[in-house]
Symmetry: D3
Subunit: 115 residues, 6 copies
């Protein structure tokens, strides 16, 4: 597995474990909700993951972006579709989103090569 992907996933898993181990009820429920929100419903998981991604881009959180890029890739989002998500994010959020888009396109390429 690519080093960047591996590092991201391992740190994420290890720290999530620490957070859950601290046994705070609110934190645990937030983690639980985070899983439920993206399940199939009136909207497909694919659309919801795109919604999660664009939100993460305009709020400019690189780790959240990576996570949703992985989920979008699993859901079969194509590169042309991805570029249109990037376009909405950069239009609505402004050029301040460009550096995050650079890191996003790099990670998108990596996870598509892995697949």
């Amino acid at each position: 597995m690519n080093e960047k992907v591996k590092e991201f996933r391992e740190y994420r898993a290890a720290m999530n474990e620490k957070i859950l181990a601290a046994d705070n009820k609110v934190m645990k429920r937030i983690f639980n909700l985070d899983t439920n929100t993206y399940m199939e419903g009136a909207l497909s998981t694919k659309v919801k993951e795109m919604l999660g991604l664009v939100s993460s881009m305009v709020l400019r959180c690189d780790d959240c972006i990576k996570y949703h890029l992985e989920k979008c890739q699993e859901q079969g989002v194509t590169t042309d579709e991805m570029m249109e998500i990037f376009a909405v994010a950069n239009l609505v959020g402004g050029t301040i989103v460009i550096p995050h888009t650079r890191r996003a396109i790099e990670y998108w390429e990596i996870i598509n090569q892995e697949a």
Copy 2:
């Protein structure tokens, strides 16, 4: 037409006109891009409008939310689908999004009664 809808649309149109009349090339191009971004492409206009809406919600801009609610309604987004967009926005953006969700559900109801 409902007074809230009428007021929102008229102020928006009048001020957009003033901005365009000032004839600044960058501002005109941004307005132009704003139209092009949501056109049918690899993603449907419906999906893109949902992306625009969720971005507006997490960035907490009431006027942008109203605008995309109208567009989503034109694209046939149902109330169940809308509630799932609200859910993603409130999960990712936090409870700070709730007051905007209150105003969104009010406006969503109004424009659906108008339709």
Copy 3:
């Protein structure tokens, strides 16, 4: 009851009801969590409400600020303590927080006169 307080509370209650009536599981759980988070725990409700207030101030959400001002008042926060919360918010969040502080001090005065 003061008109500003009445209007804020009534709109809030009416729209919360609409949101809950739409019966989206994620939204309902977020509302539920919102109540649980501020309950007595390792930290007192008083401290948690102050944490909720300062977060609302630096994120600049007037309705959230009003809500936590009411809760802080119920918890016996004094005006001197409140001013120190305002100070942290304006220092960390910058002068962009000042207009929200103006509206906060007005509302704080009103709810203290009501009490």
Copy 4:
């Protein structure tokens, strides 16, 4: 004086007075710094007010925008210059800044007619 300008200035002055009367040392120093920052220095007050305005626009604070529009007008900023500030704000900050630009152009017109 135009009603919108009058209302903005009076509320601002009255609430600033309340904040200062509460006699919190940190708040008073922040207000004091707010005055000093925009004084003539290596950069002119005109340039600094433009910096204050563009910051207020990308952070999307309408009252801060109004305040700096007034200061820019006092410093002789022209409408063509103002449109270029709006352009930078809308490019960097994204279309989420457009609704604030609508309110800004309205206020800019009013204060220029007053002058």
Copy 5:
């Protein structure tokens, strides 16, 4: 001393020195205010540091979070209390705060092991 803590503190100290050496009066006063704001007053330093921390979390600034984690640790904040601060931050600020919470819990563990 742990490498992460050492690196953070040394870079912070070295750059603060550069900023102060540039001898800009406003920057110096902001640094000065930053110290005064958290002093004992109507609220204890402990509560104020918790307010500073939660503000840093919802505004998502990792360096500010580290700084206030250190101060909270000095003030005797327990891990159970810390988890409740994290809970408020993640509820109000949304899941976008989770990656910062991961880095926070790692740093919190390190500085508690050092102590």
Copy 6:
């Protein structure tokens, strides 16, 4: 060339190329606008770059800050002027901007030594 400058520029150039190669019309126009916005106009390029910098600081984007620091340096902005831009950013945006100011002063020193 300094390693930090080299790394920043090379990654930026390589990823911009990838984004443009993906051939999304909206993204290409946003990049194009980004160039046009800062051209000489009613305001000088120097002033516009300062506006771009202060916006990047209050929105807290390190890569955007680096980019505009380079452009400001090319436009002859002095260190005294730069400190006053930093002062506006830290006043308006709050102490949350300080960590970005630390990285900014480090980069500013590097690019001035290169020059």
